[in-house]
């Protein structure tokens, strides 16, 4: 009996398995990850079928086990379309392993949101692995609440500095530290090295070495670096209280929406230059912590920017 059933083959009646592999792959990538993995218990023919579906969206929220993430990353096919995860404090040390696996699987979209913990020492952020620099296919990168390490030293005979992610269209860094010399230059290269970058969000991004530990910030000029992204549609720029040295440079002819808070260099020449460069946008949202300053900026805006349609201060 059993032999006969096997000989006739499940694929004969199984409509999905009798479709071309590329069609079934496309169907599977349209399902939530949990349901994709669960197809393994449909029948013998399905036990390992999902593992060969490339382009999966891998997403973990709420309570998931570290084993579940590792299992999926070990078994799923390359390329992985997206990896989107909320990293619970306990699982922080795993992030480096995930990134290594994801770099190998040519991940295209990466969203790592680290959760904070009460036990966190003030100003000490969870680290993200160096393998992030190996994710060369990234078109979307979102990082929240973490510290990005120095890029790996250049391999002998292989160019010089890390040149960025050429396919990047969206870069979003929220509460991210790059605590090493040359961090500003690195950000500049990453932004300029992505010719199709359309969406840029930099909120509380700190760069460079903080000498003498937490309290003793050496009063130094921050290392200057430039945001050059001619195809930008949307810009969110909230500089931290201590100036990180980043400035908008060059025209942003396609900019639609800008959301700025740049208290760190308010009232300086740089501020006026920034205002000038973003002044043609349709929707401009400007937040300033100082009320009196805000009123003066508003007057300046009304005078300078007749083309814009909408201001929010």
């Amino acid at each position: 009996m059993e032999v006969a059933a096997e000989a006739s083959g499940a694929a004969g009646t199984d409509i999905l398995l009798s479709l071309l592999p590329e069609i079934l792959d496309d169907i599977l990538t349209r399902l939530p990850l949990k349901e994709v993995v669960r197809t393994c218990c449909l029948s013998r023919g399905w036990a390992r079928r999902w593992e060969s579906a490339s382009g999966l969206d891998v997403r973990f929220r709420g309570f998931y086990s570290a084993g579940a993430v590792a299992g999926v990353l070990a078994r799923c096919a390359a390329p992985v379309a997206s990896f989107d995860i909320e990293v619970r404090p306990r699982l922080r040390p795993r992030a480096a392993y995930w990134l290594r696996a994801l770099a190998e699987k040519r991940v295209r979209s990466l969203q790592l949101a680290f959760g904070s913990s009460r036990a966190d020492e003030h100003g000490v952020f969870p680290g993200v692995g160096r393998a992030i620099y190996a994710c060369a296919e990234l078109s979307n990168l979102y990082l929240r609440y973490c510290e990005v390490p120095r890029p790996p030293p250049p391999q002998p005979g292989q160019g010089s500095l890390f040149a960025g992610f050429p396919r990047l269209t969206r870069l979003a860094l929220n509460s991210v530290k790059l605590p090493f010399a040359g961090a500003g230059a690195l950000l500049e290269r990453v932004i300029a090295g992505a010719p199709d970058l359309a969406d840029l969000l930099l909120v509380d991004v700190t760069t460079g070495v903080v000498a003498g530990g937490e309290k003793k910030v050496v009063e130094e000029e921050p290392e200057a670096w430039a945001i050059r992204a001619p195809k930008l549609h949307s810009l969110t720029l909230w500089t931290p209280a201590v100036d990180n040295g980043g400035r908008v440079a060059g025209e942003l002819p396609l900019l639609n929406a800008a959301n700025m808070s740049v208290d760190a260099f308010l009232g300086t020449e740089d501020f006026l230059d920034t205002l000038w460069l973003v002044s043609r946008v349709k929707v401009l949202k400007f937040s300033v912590r100082d009320r009196e300053m805000m009123r003066r900026i508003f007057v300046a805006l009304c005078w300078k920017t007749t083309g814009s349609e909408n201001y929010k201060l």
Binding site: L19, I23, R30, C40, L42, R44
Partner: protein, 173 residues
């Protein structure tokens, strides 16, 4: 000079018009011929590249993998998307409504839905392919394994040992 360039422009215009109104013949595997506008046929990346590569438009294109019933339905989709504009909000809404009704009708006849999906894949009609595979995915979504087996004729052939192994892997994945 002025008249010369004017005449050239007119000639180019006429040619443009002609290519725009050019008709293309698609033949099903049963030998039935369907005459469609070039704009409609260009919805298929497969046919588009054959036309652009200077394929014999006059002789038409035989489609040995597609039967008449399926081809007629595929052409219905291509006509709507190829011959109509989708610039304004209203036009796009009309097209979205067409897609919704189109797929709802296919969904009621599953065997036909799979035929159209395979034809869309073969002819590389991206919009239609996405529409049909999404519809099949929606059928799987939210169902228990038993319901999925019933919906797609999947035979349950797992032994107790297989199940044990899968459970084992499941706790890891």
């Amino acid at each position: 000079m002025a008249t010369g360039s004017g005449a050239a422009a007119a000639a180019a215009d006429a040619e443009e018009k002609e290519s725009g109104s050019r008709m293309i013949t698609l033949t099903s595997n049963e030998g039935k011929a369907f005459v469609v506008t070039e704009a409609s046929a260009r919805q298929s990346a497969t046919i588009r590249s054959m036309v652009d590569d200077g394929g014999c438009v006059d002789k038409g294109f035989p489609l040995p993998n597609v039967d008449s019933k399926t081809l007629a339905r595929v052409i219905q989709y291509c006509d709507e998307h190829g011959n109509k504009e989708a610039h304004t909000v209203d036009e796009r809404a009309a097209l979205a409504k067409f897609d919704k009704d189109f797929i709802a009708e296919l969904d009621a006849d599953k065997a036909f839905l799979y035929d159209v999906t395979m034809a869309a894949n073969y002819l590389h009609i991206q919009g239609l392919f996405a529409l049909t595979t999404q519809c099949i995915a929606d059928t799987i979504k939210g169902k228990t394994p038993e319901e999925i087996r019933t919906a797609f004729g999947i035979e349950y052939d797992l032994t107790a040992q297989d199940e044990e192994e899968i459970k084992e892997e499941d706790t890891h994945a």
